[in-house]
Symmetry: none
């Protein structure tokens, strides 16, 4: 959720071996979805292989076949979430003409409805909780956290009023925005309120718009 990954991570995996059969990918996807379902439904701690396999409609032993072991499946699941988020960001940015639109695309991707459905949200949260103790999760998290920041920074820098100033201001603004994105997402996710997600998006969008408006104002006076 705090990440704007490009899909290279996964792609590298794919080209490493000869292209998997389509059926194989379907099964992998099936198990990953079942893992997400399970974590969302019963929590990370209570998510067992039997739970997952049951939801996927396969036998527990199959996990070993496709992912080596439970950890392999969990890691693949986390990576899948990251890739998905990245894809939605890319799609939204494709249509973003102005710098302002580009920044808002990040907000919409990270705080869009997808990121707030119960399935996605609690799984992101569960993985984050594991980050301090699972180095491989930490690595994935680190990469994608950096990318979110980079995306925002690029957006802000392209803005006329910031392009003039030194890069630090854009960086500071990007950091603040990233923090607000993650925080708004987190508070909305932990809230039982169903409308919290939409309000979170509006909150952050409002913040961004306000700042950009302020900058435009400053630009007019100084320009």
């Amino acid at each position: 959720m705090s990440t704007v990954p490009s899909p290279e991570g996964e792609r590298a995996d794919v080209v490493a071996r000869p292209r998997r059969h389509a059926a194989e990918d379907v099964r992998r996807r099936q198990l990953i979805e079942a893992t997400i379902d399970a974590i969302a439904a019963v929590g990370f701690h209570a998510t067992t292989l039997v739970e997952i396999a049951g939801r996927a409609g396969v036998s527990p032993g199959l996990v070993a076949f496709y992912f080596r072991d439970k950890n392999g499946l969990l890691e693949a699941t986390l990576r899948h979430l990251a890739v998905q988020l990245s894809a939605s960001l890319i799609a939204l940015q494709r249509d973003a003409a102005t710098p302002r639109a580009r920044v808002l695309a990040v907000v919409d991707a990270t705080l869009g409805p997808t990121q707030f459905d119960r399935r996605t949200a609690s799984v992101w949260l569960a993985f984050w909780a594991q980050v301090p103790v699972v180095p491989r999760f930490a690595r994935i998290q680190r990469i994608y956290a950096a990318r979110l920041l980079a995306n925002l920074r690029a957006g802000f820098r392209a803005h006329p009023s910031l392009a003039r100033l030194d890069g630090d201001e854009a960086a500071r603004l990007a950091a603040a925005t990233a923090a607000m994105i993650d925080g708004a997402w987190l508070r909305a996710t932990l809230s039982p309120d169903v409308g919290a997600g939409a309000r979170a998006r509006d909150l952050v969008a409002g913040f961004v718009e306000g700042r950009l408006a302020l900058l435009d104002l400053a630009l007019m006076h100084t320009g």
Copy 2:
């Protein structure tokens, strides 16, 4: 962490039974600290009663005596964290003379060094991950999330420039600040960078100061 609890939650527990002996409280505290240590060291998922009891220097069976079962201990631990955070907030606000200082006291309490040491941070995170699936955790979280917001709102409302406007603006600002607090904390916690915590505090403080300065400016023009 997103919570500014007053200690009633715990106190209610206390008055429910006849006052515990001091020695009893010492043991409870001892076990709670050991739980925090364990979660920070090995993660929520790998935290077993043997782990905890080992760190506390007692036998695993003792947990049942003081907390009924493992869940009781976990819940008490979460509550303990919330109470601690609340206490530090109260202490900081005691010396806050101006509205501005009052808001910054919240920032300093929630993003102070205590909240960023590895022990505290990963344990908060671990508990949050359980919120969506453990109703009792959700209840605690809900209460204290509301309190953080209330504290910020009260601070902003006391500010001259906002006191005039309708309450919505202060509420909106409080929500934005709360989001940024939680988000900055989260990103810093997940980051391996040791200086991230201090930067997080500065980021949010800077945001708050900037907004208040802007409001003051507006006040001067309109006042």
Copy 3:
């Protein structure tokens, strides 16, 4: 190893069905060798079909085709070892002109270098351990243990000094020799010392020669 099998056991198997294709036999042999490798490398208990198939360069499912199941493969492997030992004994006895040479041929076959390489030795041992609980293994073992004894007895009986005496003395000597052969093999196999095999052979050969010399001496006195 305590066995001097003639190859009938296997041959019976062969005539039972229409003659297998040569390619079929190659595969069977390939799997049997892989089984021996696996047992020698990781032990009987850790020898799985994946292990075996991996070493043979085929898929695990193929075992079912050639040997029905894992037990079938194991039994075939044991039988293969017995046949091999028998063949080497026959070859050595072909050139044995005197009774003394005939007995020593048995010693050389059972305590020759082949019987002491790590592969062969640990596999024999592994199978012997199964004898008390696997009736089919017990049957094979029984047959070949009897043959070793018979071979030795025949050799001793052909000796002039024993031919005169009642058969019991030759039988007793054969039993003692058989015991010493198996014991020497066992101790050498369990020893980490690489030279143990050669010393084992010399030990038993020395024993046999000593006894025969003694008998010759007795023969001279009484003859």
Copy 4:
């Protein structure tokens, strides 16, 4: 079986920690006996913790409590067998006045009825089969194999006729005897014949007596 251990190995274990409670030792012994029963009944490969626990009348989880894991229990079992054999050897040698009696005591201990009951025998065999792949078993085996040899050598060296000769002859005789002991035990154990054990003992005893008689004869001629 090829071993004449003194009990220090175990004793060292005991003094390492504060003396265990008697009840603890009873349970350990109980589990070890159940392990022996299980191996004898179903074989090493089929001996599971459920099997063992069932025979001991306890729950499977208890094994971890007393022996850490299955391997710990197996190792303790092997060590127990070795200690037992050693004890019976010591007891028999206590009453052995002459060198001849001392050597025969070794034979009686290693080929006594205890070593031939189905329980003991198949368990020794099972452990031996593991020796090539389990270093810890190998170590135990190595120590005790050396002790059997040392005991025999000491016995033979004390004999007048060998005391005169260089040590090599006694050593060679000890090696031959050790080999015959192990081989006779092995063949008897693998044989379905119930009387095989007694005959094995007589065979080896006869061999020893014969050699000693021969030596006495030589002594008379040369002395």
